[in-house]
Symmetry: C2
Subunit: 152 residues, 2 copies
DNA sequence: AGATTTCGGTCGAGATCGTCAAGCATTTCA
DNA sequence: TGAAATGCTTGACGATCTCGACCGAAATCT
């Protein structure tokens, strides 16, 4: 489905999405129209979900991040999910198996804000919050190579 | 530190990092050299951490994601952290307060792979794994507006 | 207050880049 | 065997970016 050239292109673009077609072409050994066509198809197929910009939350004043596990009270699941989606400070949320129904990432500027936001769901769900002290791995894509599990 | 124009630019770029300087200039009411200079400074200051491409893990065959909470055995914290960093299938890892020391996101192609990877840290840490069933909120930046907690 | 420096902006020209059409080779399929 | 489809290249045109020169407002210094 993806050949080596595609993977190569993706790798370069993950590092710098502004790499010009010309440079991309040079690095993978194609002409720029070919690269352009490949990118078009990668987008069309949904492999490339978006070209975007990664912003440092700190630069926006969000000095605190937390991982919040959320267990909605009986019958409140949908209301809670909707609420989470509407609160812009939630920067990520996954619905998971197990006791905790949701695991979410919260960006806040202060402990006070954290409290304020959790209060808004306190009557609809139980939450456990863990403050993030460090980020050993920041968001990165899974390995692009055709395989890799259990190597190094 | 950031004015309205900067925030406006960031908002546009988060949606589409390939927006041309010309278009950006038109949308915020500046000339393109000005926009160019602003972007340069946003990068320089670290506000924009990177221009990147968002890849669909599914397109690479990663049909399964999991949230893994990891509690290293006594004395094994650093070994475990290093191990996690080296395993490319970990797509995110935060060091948090509380009983669980790390919370990580794992991309795998199959349950078998999941087992294989967890086995590699099983003798150095306790783990609890939650399979991701859905993603109500995919990675998004915190609100860019000057404030927002407890609105909407 | 008045002069000066700094900061952020505009304009225009030259260089760079992306896109399009035309054409070619290889593979696939009837 | 031949026709169609795929994926590539080349070359030209138009759009975009970048760089230098210049300008004005605001802050700073004397």
């Amino acid at each position: 489905m993806l050949d080596d050239l595609d993977r190569n292109l993706l790798e370069i673009l993950v590092r710098d999405a502004r790499t010009s077609l010309k440079q991309l072409a040079a690095q993978v050994g194609l002409s720029s129209p070919s690269v352009s066509e490949r990118l078009r198809r990668l987008e069309e197929r949904g492999v490339i979900r978006a070209f975007t910009v990664e912003i440092d939350p700190l630069a926006l004043g969000y000095t605190l991040q937390a991982i919040v596990r959320i267990r909605p009270l009986p019958g409140k699941l949908h209301i809670v999910q909707k609420l989470i989606e509407e609160i812009a400070e939630f920067g990520e949320c996954d619905k998971v198996t197990g006791d905790d129904c949701f695991v979410a990432r919260l960006f806040v500027r202060s402990i006070g804000d954290l409290d304020g936001i959790l209060d808004r769901i306190a009557d609809k769900a139980e939450t456990s919050t863990a403050i993030i002290k460090a980020q050993p791995i920041r968001r990165r894509p899974p390995p692009l190579g055709t395989s890799s599990a259990s190597s190094s």
